[in-house]
């Protein structure tokens, strides 16, 4: 049982990283549609990792909201814009080098701080992210943020309707 979970973790983690690489730097295609499809796969792998962490509710929400709603919105907009295949402009080597250096530096900081602090030492994994517990927390301790988020969604909806008017002043 323990071993099966470890194998599943490595499979999901490797798949998530590979799909993320394909989102950012796909060697075969520059089309945003392939990036979007690989991003859907990454979301699916992350949902698998959430399940391994016993966050069942969040795994379901990840599939429903991210892979379902958000990525469908992305694909819808990509199709709507009717993009031509992005012509290969040469990437400025200066910006590429600067990007790689800064990203490498940030990754090195992450990993070094992980090694230095060892946050997982002596930690026992025993939290279950079940829907009832999460719901109870959400409607008692986090009631005010919950309501604020609902207002935020309403504002976003009004903003989107306004932004997609034909004669945007």
């Amino acid at each position: 049982m323990e071993n099966a979970q470890a194998y599943l973790f490595y499979v999901f983690a490797a798949l998530a990283v590979i799909c993320a690489i394909m989102v950012v730097a796909n060697p075969f295609s520059r089309s945003p549609v392939t990036s979007a499809m690989f991003l859907v796969l990454t979301m699916g792998c992350l949902a698998g990792l959430f399940t391994l962490l016993h966050a069942f509710f969040l795994a379901a929400v990840q599939i429903l909201v991210y892979a379902g709603a958000v990525m469908v919105l992305f694909l819808f907009v990509i199709m709507l814009l009717d993009l031509k295949e992005e012509q290969r402009r040469q990437v400025k080597s200066l910006s590429l080098v600067a990007g790689l250096v800064s990203v490498g530096a940030i990754l090195a900081i992450f990993v070094r701080s992980l090694i230095a602090t060892k946050p997982g030492e002596g930690a026992l994994a025993n939290v279950e992210g079940s829907t009832s517990k999460l719901g109870k927390l959400l409607f008692t301790q986090y009631l005010l943020p919950f309501e604020i988020v609902s207002v935020l969604l309403l504002v976003a909806m009004v903003g989107v309707v306004l932004l997609s008017k034909k004669d945007l002043k």
Binding site: A6, A55, F74, L81, S102, L114, L153, V155, A156
Partner: protein, 101 residues
């Protein structure tokens, strides 16, 4: 063979770095947006892992809020991109240099 908190945090850090790389190097505004989503998801993974290993559900509630705010952000951002495309006929960030001159 035991998978601990560090394993999840390393995966999260790698995903975050890949998203950042996409934001810095890619030039298509839609792909930049997708890389942003990737970074948000990496943060979510770290929060869920911390929540599981620190015996505290607050991290998962935080992830719930992040997912909600990300959905709102995507809706507004894509509406902006569509409005921009109507006016300028491009999704290439180097063509969007009106404020530069």
């Amino acid at each position: 063979m035991n998978v601990g908190l560090e394993h999840y945090l390393v995966v999260s850090a790698v995903l975050f770095a890949l998203g950042l790389l996409g934001v810095v190097t890619r030039r298509n505004i839609l792909v930049i947006y997708m890389s942003l989503e990737l970074m948000l998801n990496a943060a979510n993974l770290a929060l869920v892992a911390f929540s599981r290993f620190n015996n505290n559900l607050d991290g998962q509630v935080m992830v719930f809020f992040i997912i909600t705010v990300a959905a709102a952000e995507v809706a507004v951002g894509l509406a902006l991109i569509v409005a921009l495309y109507r006016r300028r006929q491009t999704t290439h960030v180097e063509d969007l240099n009106l404020l530069k001159h």
